[in-house]
Symmetry: C2
Subunit: 381 residues, 2 copies
Amino acid sequence: MKKYYLMAPGPTPVPNQVLLAMAQPIVHHRTPAYQALFAQVREGLKWLIQTRQETIVLVASGTGAMEAAVTNTLSPGDKVLVVRAGKFGERWAEICKTFGVEVVPLDAPFGQTVPADRVAEALKKTPGVRAVFCQHSETSTGVLHDVQGYAQATRQSEAILVVDAVSSLGVADLPMDAWGVDLVVSGSQKGLMLPPGLAFCTLSDKAWERVKQAKLPRYYFNLLEEKKLVVKNQPHFTPAVSIVVGLKEVLAMLQAEGLANVFKRHDRLARATRAGVEALGLELFAKATPSPAITAVFSPKGIEGEKVVATFASSHNITIAGGQGEMKGKVFRLGHMGYVGDFDVLVALGALEQVLAELGYPVDWGAAVGAAQKVLAEHPS
Amino acid sequence: MKKYYLMAPGPTPVPNQVLLAMAQPIVHHRTPAYQALFAQVREGLKWLIQTRQETIVLVASGTGAMEAAVTNTLSPGDKVLVVRAGKFGERWAEICKTFGVEVVPLDAPFGQTVPADRVAEALKKTPGVRAVFCQHSETSTGVLHDVQGYAQATRQSEAILVVDAVSSLGVADLPMDAWGVDLVVSGSQKGLMLPPGLAFCTLSDKAWERVKQAKLPRYYFNLLEEKKLVVKNQPHFTPAVSIVVGLKEVLAMLQAEGLANVFKRHDRLARATRAGVEALGLELFAKATPSPAITAVFSPKGIEGEKVVATFASSHNITIAGGQGEMKGKVFRLGHMGYVGDFDVLVALGALEQVLAELGYPVDWGAAVGAAQKVLAEHPS
């Protein structure tokens, strides 16, 4: 027996009590029981997303919600800015181009960020921009982008700000209404500790106004039709009811912890992970503010990143992730979001020491684990 | 304590062993473990859909797969025929129109069907038809359409035949390759006894050729991108992994029963249900071949259909369904698909006797249950 650990940047482990809640008999979606369940979920999502707006819950991967954000707010030929500094930034651009939207990319090398003043400047220089698309936490690089700064720029413009918060919701602070974010997209399988299957779109008044004008075709992802029913606690199409049951459970867990504590927990686990990695002489991939959700690390010279991932699996039954796209083979990624605590960091770093040693890298036993312990002790929870 | 029964036409009850299988720790989708799981699922789906083609498994409601069928096979301005004799037939037309496809409707009153020779004739009379859309089992009316006949007509034409099998897969015989169906759409929450969350598209060679030519925009539902990865047992976007685990389980259950037995079981339960309903003097809504998945029944004069549904719930904790769209209030619908057996029919009909009596309808106690028993005895399983 080798105990299994899921330490990838999503899907993340689901707490046992949530797994068992989802194993209850199926709730039919056209019943008062479902309406009562969904009423609770609606309130929880408002709390989590720090907004007075309704969240549209879709049956989809996060990418489905990204597509919904594009097709529900834009018309053919519209011009948008895309903050593109990772694989998911590229995805925004791909979706926009697929639907005939003109993309003005704001590029930064992967691992870096686009400062807010570049966004502000681009908005001034480029007439007619209808939307700015970005990630909050770019899962492929482990960088946290300056959404607050981007929102300052878009609030003074005609553009709406659309934020992919798939790996930041319930992980990093994103006060939607206070910052003035117009559209938050997320999914169930990261900070929310659920199986993949649900995706979320939350829109500001400014974004809902755009929905009324938007001419891109959409049917399955029709947010306005969904919204009419959400206020009655009803779904449009058959929802993934078992995951909605799980959602109620995790929202209660997060509420019991308190939002500030949730963010603080992720922040200290991420700090501890980074300290451990650097104590082994490894280099972090993020050259800008690192994400509290995930740590991307350059694989040491002479050791293929995919080999690190494979050895975590073969020697220790631990799933971590490799690099995506151009980063494949160069980096490995440790997830520390969702149902995670102090000792998950020790497991990840302990295994990292073992794996690197097995692959011929000189390891000072306990260096990573010790550095993490120090950070955890210095930042009490 | 009032024991709960889910007897709606989807979602349907999930067997306990499947619920518990889905409650296992999350499988990461970029691992050999997921690839091994998906390899089994692929083989099982080929067996279930009676095809040598690969099935694309999407994270969506059935409507998402319907949209995928439209956007992946057609171009703006294409002309299609839609068999429209129920709410889901209307949905095909709505999706097509949303994406700029010209719809030539082949209408029949709800509860009736469109004979295959009308489809053949329309194909001859209407030049340039690229596709025919239909339901197999129309869930809103409880009618089974003549897909075999439609396929005979489309095989001799340039049109592909696209079949919504959401409530017929694993319920009624639909030998895709033998009949020459070009695109089968289905979902997880009906005959497959799973929670909602997965949807399926299976395409013939003729349909895959169309995908290469089709110009409608699609990104999240890009079947060609999915297909490239399916043959490597890999997903495109994050799949609903827990439901995929359940899918492996239900496919094994269905394989153990045998496909012919699965269809025979549904057929006899449907016959018994209809006999019971008619023994109470009620009128079936279906005026054409009834679906083995679901029985739609006219509510007796003076008794609102929604009242029947509400009384099943309030007096007996049983979920059945009312009428959709123009049928609302006029009919109620009993589901008998998926994880169902002889005695579920007795429960449904026993409750129906009780409910109707409570609502003032004269009931000969045991008439419905007895008529069903007779059918079950005369059609040994």
